[in-house]
């Protein structure tokens, strides 16, 4: 399962909804999941992703991670990829924010 950076805790409140990473991540999920405009705004930290949405298979997850790298300007290592990372919108967002905060 995906190992998050050490400073990261699941289940705890995510950053304010207005952060840039939050916005970009919702846009990426909109493209990958084919959501209607505005639909991703309803996502909360607890909204389930991998394992909750049958269409989010390994190929779609790989596409999602690659888009995150491109649009968030981060690099995701193989050993960081596991199911917990993609468990919920909150865990994915926390991972993305921690990654972007890396020097």
């Amino acid at each position: 399962m995906i190992r998050a950076p050490r400073t990261f805790h699941t289940g705890i409140d995510v950053k304010p909804m207005s952060s840039e990473t939050d916005l970009l991540l919702r846009r990426i999920l909109t493209d990958v999941l084919g959501l209607k405009q505005g639909q991703a705004e309803g996502f909360t930290a607890d909204t389930g992703l991998f394992g909750h949405l049958p269409e989010l298979d390994s190929m779609a997850v790989a596409g999602l991670l690659t888009e995150m790298e491109d649009r968030l300007d981060i690099v995701i290592e193989d050993d960081e990829i596991d199911g917990e990372l993609l468990e919920s919108f909150g865990s994915l967002l926390a991972f993305a924010e921690a990654k972007r905060a890396e020097p």
């Binding site: 269409e55 997850v61 596409g63 990829i81």
Partner: protein
């Protein structure tokens, strides 16, 4: 829309690096052919992305037909209706196949979709729609495999997978890919030509359909892409 067959050069064998020279085999193509002068050869997107973009591709062909432009969508050998083994194919054999298709259908223009832009025949004017880098496509397919293996409790890395793939080939996202394909594909760069123009996704509006977890369609995107092509062809 008419499905037809066309003669495609066959790769000789996997042993000794493949290459063409093994005669010809029939491959399928979808065509809108009314004997008109603008004749567009469309090189499909690669692997999984071809399925994701199939509907968009054919919808664009219908619109071009309405605009007086013939179009041709050949199968890449080893894909779709092809009887050739996928794991015998290489980027070189796919390029040779698309060059043969361009000649057979007397194409006047070409369009490469995503990774298809890596397989365009030389010499014809045309477009690359959201061209993908070979290294990025490969990385994404390796990553899909790593995600799937991780779910099954197996830990794999891109480096180790690639090393084995160069030796023995590899199965990625259900596609059995030969070692020679991997070796050539890693280093493949898009065909660069003054004759080719890029169409970025932003020009179509909305997110790229190849990104979707499930294949989908988008009429507005098909309208936009067909309009760009029709205007460009008639310039």
């Amino acid at each position: 829309m008419t499905p037809v067959t066309w003669p495609c050069p066959v790769v000789r064998s996997r042993v000794g690096g493949g290459g063409t020279g093994g005669g010809f085999a029939e491959e399928m193509a979808l065509t809108f052919d009314r004997g008109r002068t603008p004749r567009l050869l469309i090189v499909p997107a690669l692997f999984e992305e071809a399925s994701k973009l199939r509907r968009l591709t054919v919808e664009v062909m219908r619109r071009l037909d309405g605009a007086g432009i013939d179009s041709f969508l050949p199968d890449l050998p080893g894909c779709n209706e092809s009887l050739q083994p996928l794991d015998a194919q290489t980027p070189e054999s796919w390029r040779a196949a698309m060059a043969a298709a361009a000649a057979h259908f007397r194409a006047t223009h070409v369009l490469g979709l995503r990774g298809g832009a890596l397989m365009l025949p030389d010499g014809l004017p045309g477009w690359r729609y959201a061209p993908a880098k070979a290294a990025s496509l490969l990385r994404q397919m390796l990553r899909a495999r790593i995600v799937a293996s991780r779910e099954a409790g197996v830990s794999e890395t891109q480096d180790a997978l690639l090393e084995a793939a160069r030796r023995d080939g590899v199965e990625l996202a259900g596609y059995r890919i030969g070692p020679e394909f991997i070796i050539q594909f890693e280093l493949l760069l898009p065909s660069s030509s003054d004759n080719l123009r890029d169409i970025e996704q932003e020009a179509l509006g909305g997110g790229g359909l190849w990104l979707r977890a499930e294949p989908d369609e988008d009429r507005a995107q098909a309208d936009a892409l067909a309009a760009i092509l029709a205007v460009g062809i008639k310039e």
